[in-house]
Amino acid sequence: MHIDHTTMEKIIKERSTQVHTIGTSAHDLDCEKKSLAGSVSQRACVFCGSRVVLYPIADALHLIHGPIGCAAYTWDIRGALSSGPQLHRLSFSTDLRERDVIFGGEPKLYTALTELIEAYKPKAAFVYSTCIVGIIGDDVDAICRRVSAEQNLDILPVMSEGFKGTKKDGYKAACDALAKLVGTDNEFQAPPFSINILGDFNLAGELWMLKEYYEKIGVNIITCLTGDGRIDEIRQAHKASLNVVQCSGSMMHLANEMKEKYGIPSIKVSYFGIEDMADALYEVARFFKNDEMLQQARDLVSEEIKTLLPALAPFKEKLQGKKAAIYVGGAFKAISLVKALRLIGMETVMVGSQTGNKDDYNLLKKLCNEGTIIVDDSNPNELSEFVKEKGVDLFIGGVKERPIAYKLGIGFCDHNHERKEALAGFEGMLNFANEVYASVTSPVWKFFKR
């Protein structure tokens, strides 16, 4: 154990390969590594990855098998809206106690599952394994099968023991559970031009905006995974002609599996910012090789832009030349944010993510200016150093980054899954500009020494 009290290291040595400054760093950015012990990563665990992805499925029972913490900290965790049932907003736990840990949690899981299904009559149930379940050796699969047979209901175990990897492995466990549902309704006949939206979670009703755009250009959405999600719609997802994947980190695994099993191709899109939103519509129209649809998409975009651009102009004027730092969960979102910020006159000088991959980071390197810091799996110490060093006016991140920004007197925009404002789509772009403007130009910063 080497303890160095003399040097105040800005970055832990072992992390230096995960930080890159465009134009000065020779090395490629290292990513998709496990977090270093003791580094106060902003990442969570496997369970977290599964939980956030499946949470928006509104007519399912979500039962967390473990001690109470895992359920308590993820109760109503996302601002994911449902147009109908709200069962997902309740937090169910087997609340394992010492007795259960010693003698096994299976009896409790069986009773909990049975009683909850009887009381709440869900369309299906997800049972999440937490760390301890992997250790005490509960046969979650067997209990799920047994209750499934007794209750005549799909019960999907989610193998999300916290220590078995990173948040990304949790996404995969969630996709594995979803894959078991997809394809279980073969009666359904899909209308032409049917797609699935993957990786939108209907935060603040964003999906409903997207749905409207797609419907306007003649595209039918079978299901969204998982925003405003419904079990019966997920069963029909294999009837789509195309999977349109956002937040590729979380859902690409399912898209690949559906490609393999059902031959459904997928495209990666983003709905943040004008450019990416417009591309998301064009790409779908191009996929269907339908000129009328493409024209409709063009009309829609120009119609939206006609009002949006003038509306953005005053924000751009005020925000021109301001500097931003971005640290979000997925790097694909970061890419859109860099573009969206540019649209309102702002330059990104630091950008990073918890779970980005090489392709994402290479794209970011191309997109950003020289001198921009790119970082993977960062921590509060690094982030605070970077924003100070770069003298940023805005930090875009989640709850854990917010106090870092505010403590240093820097504006903040919440772009995590807890946000209350819709930021996707054309309407979302205006909300985004408004939120950035409100925080960056607030007079309160005048009292802070910068």
Binding site: Q42, A44, C45, I135
Partner: protein, 465 residues
């Protein structure tokens, strides 16, 4: 859009539905934040640290760094000692802390990690010089609640740091899990009584800092270690709360102990124990204790605060008389709130806690002379049970943390936000609950909530109350 489903009937459940408690490492981390220069480290999966950080940050609106030893599958099979070493090295190099408090988790406890032994190996390794003080608390999440983690940590800190020293003219003060604003206020009260108090934990600054010109990796504030070392030399302890004893898995030889009772047993320091001072009755008891401990009369400042509080009781009593309240949260907070509401004429219909000490009912009856016996007490309960009970009770208001907001919304009644967490408002860290001063703030809130409700639902203009 449908409503969040609520059962219209009451039936028993084995599962927990919307927990009204948190896990013990969370409480441990908050207590650790109350020591100067100390960084919490959770020995377990990355998620525990991140979730707990996010939960704490959302209440205090402060940077809260909690390190993790980042268990992987291999760690889980082969043991966490190497991860703990790496984590400690990185925390020491990054934060240069004076101390590191290591809390365990369900994972590390279940695989049988012997953290005290691991720490002693690290301390005995001669290549490690200049180590900060390292201590560890056993906090498996399957035992008790966040309060057990909190209280176990306070006890462990005392045991770890206390040194045999000549007796000092000091008083130990254990405020319990209260707001930073409460700690600040009570510290001031001790000063006004001329009592040199060692407050543990003291996160009044670390979890409620002013803005910074530069970023502090370890926020300023907290009880200095030099003071912790003197705790055994104090001439008295003042401990707030009736549920401070730790009864975790055969520790302490199976005895139930709080930090103050341990000091009484081991160092012969007289413990003055009372419930959280919310309301006239319990504040009087608290101030009498300070008077006795200091040998001084109650300072005029507090006589005046008491007088004003009483004056407001007269001004406001009618608007709250007979109103039905639902109280929930940690047992100590619930008990103190019941005592307060009982003395001002509110009928507490339900007192609920996710904890299960088995003593809540008895304590409530003891401290609520007006209606104590008619209060329904639910231990080991959750928010959905509270929600379903509310259907029968038809309460006039709820009082507790922000997680009950959906129930208040369900029944269209006010929620008075107190305690932890308050995630949906700013200022949770600045809510005053304790002393005549804090009670005043609470009393005004309760009365005004009732008036506002009436005003909003009345054809009368209510230009005057």
């Amino acid at each position: 859009m449908e409503k969040i489903p609520t059962l219209s009937y009451i039936r028993p459940f084995v599962s927990t539905r919307n927990a009204c408690k948190l896990c013990s490492p969370l409480g441990a981390c908050i207590a650790i934040k109350g020591i100067e220069g100390c960084v919490p480290l959770i020995h377990g999966s990355q998620g525990c640290a991140t979730y707990i950080r996010r939960y704490i940050i959302s209440h205090y609106k402060e940077p809260v760094d909690i390190a993790s030893s980042n268990f992987s599958e291999e760690t889980t099979i082969f043991g966490g000692e190497n991860n703990l070493k790496t984590a400690l090295t990185n925390v020491i190099n990054q934060y240069q802390p004076k101390a590191i408090g290591i809390t365990t988790t369900c994972l590390s406890e279940t695989i049988g990690e012997d953290v005290p032994l691991q720490l002693s190996n690290i301390r005995n390794d001669s290549s490690n010089s200049n180590l900060p003080s390292l201590f560890t608390i056993s906090t498996p999440s399957y035992q008790g609640t966040h309060m057990d983690g909190f209280n176990a940590t306070v006890l462990e800190i005392i045991k770890h740091f206390t040194k045999k020293m000549p007796s000092a003219d000091k008083v130990n003060f254990f405020p319990g899990f209260v707001s930073p604003a409460d700690i600040r206020h009570l510290k001031e009260v001790f000063i006004d009584f001329n009592i040199d108090a060692i407050t543990l934990p003291d996160y009044s600054d670390t979890l409620d800092n002013p803005v910074w010109e530069k970023y502090y990796r370890v926020p300023k504030g907290g009880t200095p270690i030099s003071e912790l070392e003197q705790i055994g030399s104090a001439y008295a302890s003042v401990e707030l709360g009736s549920f401070t004893e730790v009864k975790q898995g055969g520790k302490n030889g199976g005895k139930e102990l709080s930090a103050a009772t341990w000091l009484e047993n081991e160092h012969g320091i007289k413990n003055h124990k009372t419930i959280l001072p919310i309301g006239m009755n319990s504040c009087d008891t608290f101030f009498d204790i300070l008077s006795k401990v200091s040998g001084k009369d109650i300072p005029t400042k507090y006589v005046m605060q008491r007088g004003r509080l009483l004056d407001s009781y007269a001004d406001g009593h009618k608007y709250i008389f007979g109103k039905k309240a639902v109280v929930y949260g940690e047992e100590d907070l619930v008990l103190a709130l019941c005592s307060f509401l009982d003395e001002i004429g509110v009928e507490v219909a339900l007192a609920a806690s996710g904890a299960n000490s088995g003593k809540l009912q008895k304590e409530i009856i003891k401290h609520c002379p007006e209606h104590g016996k008619s209060i329904k007490v639910m231990s080991d309960s959750d928010f959905e049970q509270i929600n379903e009970e509310c259907n029968l009770i038809k309460p006039d208001f709820l009082i507790g943390n922000s997680k009950g907001q959906y129930i208040a919304k369900n029944y269209n009644v006010p929620l008075i936000r107190v305690g932890f967490p308050i995630h949906d408002r700013i200022g949770g860290q600045r809510v005053n609950h304790l002393g005549y001063y804090g009670t005043q703030e609470l009393f005004d809130k309760v009365v005004n909530a009732m008036i506002e409700y009436k005003q909003n639902n009345s054809p009368i203009g209510y230009k005057y109350m």
